[in-house]
């Protein structure tokens, strides 16, 4: 009876929230949980097959989105928290939302789960499998230290049923360490192309020490942040052989990438992505590997993944008054650096990518950086100083102007000043709607406005854009 009331209350809150034109990605779940704290487990029991969890610092939403595409094309009905609300209330809301759309019981729940929520989520959902994408320093103020984050995910994995599969990124030493001594099925994915990436990293690496003995790890290849090919000189720990490997990776700047994927059992597929950068190659590999674990045909899964366009705030393209907006969520230094490098150039990509947008001359790029520091964004704004905004100051980046906005607009403006971006090119407009309007006005028709918001700023921007009719509200079905 309590379960019924919880669901009823939750769905009512959901309908009310939608009716009022609001996102409500967590409130309906909170309402249901307040009636029945164990509702998540109950809701999961209604699934035909079970739950797959995706966790890690960067790439949860994109990996989940790619996997959702493959699963839906493969005929599965899903519960999926596509907006990225990944705390317990968000997970419950995803179930409530799905049940208000599908007449029949869904097959699978595909849920991205926040690292700190892992122990609870695994306990309640008892998933078929867990994907761990990577660990980067992110929202340090929430967990205190990276070690704590990793420990929480490890705790979650410990609670898994033995038959569950664990899918780990072989190129991240912090992630692969979770596979150590784990009974049951552990599958690794990674990039195995010695002709790309770099021999030396230029980013603030966050973990370069052997999780076993503390010695500094020796790398001979870096792809993204501290992800690459590593081994402990003491010989007790090294990158595992990936069960699914990206053998030949060709990055195509803003247009995406193409990877020749090889997997155990003689599987060979070509994975084309319309999402840029190494970081998305990893997301694609994770989605493909998970799809295979769930019984999908690799070639079909690869095709679906290739068709996927940008999801919620991840390189989302929106046309507003003839301007091309590229909306990309930023959460932490590594992610932001990848975005800056992809848009504004770095040696590792294809040199033609600087003109890949095709439609604008070099020195007229407009950028809108929107930084909030609410709980979901991370309350400690210090992380801006670990981002290489110096990239925006380089003449080759072709930046005509930057507008900083959000609650911490001034911090971003100061950061840009110290990064060497000329002060006359930076405007500080804390209020987001006004900043968006100013940024659009400054962008010539036909050109691209690069928008990089933190999480709550992105929600606000999308809200603003949807009121103007430019984007569908995210609950109105698939974004692509």
């Amino acid at each position: 009876m309590r379960d019924f009331l919880a669901v009823l209350a939750g769905k009512t809150a959901l309908r009310a929230s939608r009716g009022l034109g609001r996102g409500g990605t967590s409130l309906p779940g909170r309402v249901a949980l307040s009636v029945q704290p164990s509702i998540l487990g109950r809701l999961a029991r209604a699934l035909r097959q079970g739950t797959v969890i995706i966790t890690g610092t960067n790439g949860k939403t994109t990996t989940a989105s790619l996997l959702a595409h493959a699963l839906e094309d493969g005929g599965r009905t899903l519960v999926h928290n596509r907006s990225g609300a990944n705390l317990e209330a968000g997970l419950v809301t995803a179930f409530l939302d799905a049940s208000s759309r599908h007449r029949t019981r869904p097959d699978l729940a595909l849920l991205e789960v926040d690292e700190a929520t892992m122990p609870e989520a695994v306990r309640r959902l008892r998933p078929l499998g867990v994907v761990v994408t990577n660990f980067f320093r992110d929202q340090l103020d929430r967990y205190g230290e990276l070690d704590t984050t990793v420990a929480l995910v490890a705790e979650g994995l410990k609670r898994l049923d033995e038959e569950a599969f664990v899918l780990l990124n072989a190129d991240d030493p912090l992630t692969t360490y979770l596979g150590r001594g784990r009974p049951g099925r552990v599958v690794y994915y990674g990039i195995s192309d010695e002709t790309c990436g770099r021999a030396v990293s230029d980013e603030t690496r966050e973990q370069r020490y052997c999780p076993d003995c503390g010695a500094e790890l020796a790398y001979h290849r870096f792809y993204y942040g501290h992800l690459g090919h590593y081994a402990c000189p003491a010989g007790d720990f090294a990158r595992p052989r990936p069960n699914m490997a990206g053998r030949a990776v060709r990055l195509r700047g803003i247009e995406g990438s193409e990877t020749h994927v090889v997997a155990d059992g003689g599987v060979q597929v070509r994975m084309r992505l319309s999402l840029p950068g190494f970081y998305n190659v990893y997301n694609g590999l994770a989605a493909l590997a998970a799809a295979m674990e769930l019984g999908l045909i690799p070639e079909r899964a690869a095709e679906s993944v290739g068709r996927a366009r940008a999801s919620f705030g991840r390189m989302e393209r929106v046309v507003v008054d003839g301007r091309n907006l590229l909306l990309t969520l930023v959460k932490n230094p590594t992610g932001f650096n990848q975005v800056l490098r992809t848009f504004f150039g770095s040696p590792e990509g294809d040199p033609s990518r600087l003109n890949a947008t095709g439609d604008q001359p070099h020195s007229s790029r407009r950028v809108l950086i929107a930084v909030n520091d609410l709980h979901a964004d991370g309350r400690d704004i210090s992380w801006l100083w670990d981002v290489d905004f110096e990239i925006l100051a380089r003449p080759e980046s072709g930046i005509a102007g930057v507008i900083t906005s959000g609650l911490r607009a001034h911090d971003a403006a100061v950061r840009l000043k110290y990064a060497g971006v000329p002060e006359e090119r930076v405007k500080c407009l804390p209020r987001l709607p006004a900043a968006l309007d100013a940024a659009l006005a400054a962008t010539t028709e036909g050109e691209t406005l690069f928008v990089t918001p933190t999480y709550t700023a992105m929600l606000e921007l999308r809200d603003h854009l949807s009121r103007r009719g430019h984007v569908p509200r995210f609950w109105e079905g698939d974004l692509t």
Partner: protein
Amino acid sequence: MKLALGHLYPRLMNLYGDRGNIIALVRRAEWRGITVEYTEIGLGDKPKFAVFDLLFMGGGQDKDQRLIAGDFRASKGASLAEAIEDGVALLAVCGGYQMLGRSYRLISGEGVPGLAVLDLETMAGRKRMIGDVVLESSLSGRPRTLVGFENHSGRTYLGSRVRPLGRVLVGHGNNGEDGWEGCRYRNVIGTYLHGSLLPKNPWLADWLLDRAVRRRYGQAAELQPLDDSLEEAAHRAAAAHARARGPARRRVRGRLARESRDRTSGGAGLCPSTERW
């Protein structure tokens, strides 16, 4: 003019934006036409700290602090202590701040010995002190504010031979009890504040640069003022933000209140009277 800037343990102690302090110091020096020679000092290095005018050490995770503790004492300790007594300008944030003290105690009870150059000690605490911070500091001669963000479970207690950096207006401070944050000893500033600290507090960056320049080039050497209107706007915005959402410092009563009065008036008690360094 030239300044030699040394950065202690840049890879291990670089938690959360602390390199913003390096960026701020270097830029503000360069904008004045001062060349900065930047040197990284890592595990195993045994530099002669007398060659440096300015030093910085950031914070790290507990295990990183444990890792460097031995090296810090063995390879850096004596030379650094001498340089500090000689008046080298140094900014130490979070873990760096703790390690300059006598010791840092973990929850397990395990004590990690520090350099014992600063008269302070840190105990492990259960509660994490996280949030926006606003301080009032008289370091530069008149009361000014400092803004930042703290994130530490260590509780630091100052001895009588050091003074606090400032009085907590918003936030927890050194230990969440006595209402003080950071420390100052000769030309050393220790603090828990991230933010990064110096970009939004340009007067503090200039205080450090000023100390470094005068020590090297004599008391007559002066820093040209810079246009800090953007930094000051950011400072004001951060302070307003902190006041709106940070915890107000609890009022202290009784003995602690008397102690804090003594400090403010510079009278007898826990603080030495104002010294000029």
